[in-house]
Amino acid sequence: MTPLAIVDYYEAWWIQIIKAVLIFAIGLQIVPVVLLAERKLLGRFQGRYGPNRVGPYGVIQPLADIVKLLGKEQSRPNTSIGPLYILAPVISIMTAVATFAIIPFGDAPHIFGTRVGLYGIDVSIGPLYIFALSAIAFYGLMLGGWASGSKYSFLGAMRAAAQLISYEVSQGLALVGVLITAGTLSLTQIVHAQEGMWYIVPQLAGFLIFMVAAFAETNRAPFDLAEADAELVGGYNTEYGGGRFASYYFAEYLNVVVVSGVATTLFLGGWLIPGWHSEPAWLDPFVVLFKMTLFIIFFIWIRATLPRLRYDQLMSFGWKILLPLATLNTLITAIVVVAVHG
């Protein structure tokens, strides 16, 4: 198996560099928007406005936050382990950005006469690539918490480790149903396989399991035990400040964006619009962004609604309910696929 999916066109190296810069730039632009959207929407869900002082309607608020964070002194505790302490947020942000590379924003249309894939890379191991990187991302949290040399950070990191490992299993198994149905691991081909019907319909159980696990994987409410501010101050990032904290924060929100992208690609038919098969290619990225926005709003909505789980509830839910359900879903899907296609 080759690492990249087999495609019937060739991309010059400079196209790939332009694409990489473009995707990274777009990813960087989405994060402040999500940051602002979260604060504004949380406000609305709680009957208040949210930030509305910096700039018109508070739109410059995330910029002000970032400038403030980057302008702060980079301090670290005496008990911390220097190199790891510095490396940890880098790992977090790097893996988040790297996962963003395989989200397809469209097919491979002709742009100025050459075919360009509207994605970073089309890997033939799509979901495995995502899980590999999210497994590395967990080192970012783990090392950050451990290298801080603080008990709160350490507790947060331990929780993060336990939680991420538990839920990654269910998340992976939830996707296996989709992969069996599509018969491919390439994300663009998975989207093409959904031209008849989006996988949210036949794989509804898988979708729900994936979403629940996604909340846990991105450390968001109600599974934000890793940074439970009420009991752990800030969890693994307690001792971080300034630019390093900004990196963690950025990675967290980029992970939300990435998970939304993955869910869009695997369950909501990526750039497909139901009932319209000849849509212009320039529309594709906007369709994907629109679907991702829906997921991001849902993430925020859930955060505004649900209280944080207790640690034992989190564990028993992950292992006793989510994992058996995900396994069952995989099993049934496999049987059905074999029965239908022989």
């Binding site: 406000g43 609305r44 869900f45 709680q46 009957g47 208040r48 406005y49 909505w301 859930i302 505004a304 609604t305 649900l306 028993s316 839910f317 006793k320 309910i321």
Partner: protein, 192 residues
């Protein structure tokens, strides 16, 4: 089990028994199912808050209207500029009797009285307040001064924005108390 005894029956402990509805046991697949349903209910609740709209009052721009009997910053009064008050128009109502200072439980009012002269007639009475100071950092806004005043010269106004950078700036002089406040606080209608 019925909690009410039939009429004429003697009381027995049996009638004090009540039915207790317990929540279903948590955990298991049933628990997860119920949790899912409750999650949807919670989502509905939070979405209803969005539909309901925002209840924030944007304070420095919008102010909460106070009730007419709200006791805010004090005001000293002059006689109105009308013809039917016997040549008292424009004179201060305060005659420097110090009853407000005597009534003040926080001891924040200082009055120094002086005699009116034909050349300089300040108040309608024999004397007037040469110095009238209220220390707003001590005032408890009880309104006793207003009650004690025999001439209605001092009343509690409606302004509540009294913070300042220095304690000495919080000692309000007679001129400040006589002047109209720069931006008047909004007032609620009675019964609103």
């Amino acid at each position: 089990m019925s909690a009410t005894p039939p009429s004429g029956a003697r009381w027995s402990p049996f009638y004090d028994q009540i039915e207790v509805q317990r929540a279903p046991e948590p955990g298991g697949a049933g628990g997860a199912y119920r949790a899912f349903g409750e999650t949807l209910r919670g989502l509905k609740t939070t979405l209803a808050r969005v539909v309901e709209g925002v209840s924030t009052i944007q304070y420095p721009e919008q102010k909460v209207a106070v009730y007419p009997r709200f006791r805010g910053r004090h005001k000293l009064h002059r006689f109105e500029d009308s013809t039917d008050n016997g040549g008292k128009a424009g004179l201060e109502k305060c005659v420097g009797c110090s009853l407000c200072a005597a009534a003040c439980p926080a001891d924040c009012i200082r009055v120094v009285a002086a005699e009116n002269t034909p050349e300089m007639r300040v108040s309608a009475g024999e004397r007037y307040a040469a110095v009238y100071e209220i220390n707003m950092s001590r005032c408890i806004f009880c309104g006793y001064c207003e009650v004690a005043c025999p001439f209605d010269a001092i009343t509690m106004g409606h302004d509540y924005e009294l913070s300042d950078y220095n304690r000495s700036d919080l000692i309000f002089t007679k001129e400040m108390l006589l002047a109209e406040p720069l931006d008047a606080s909004p007032l609620r209608a009675e019964g609103e």
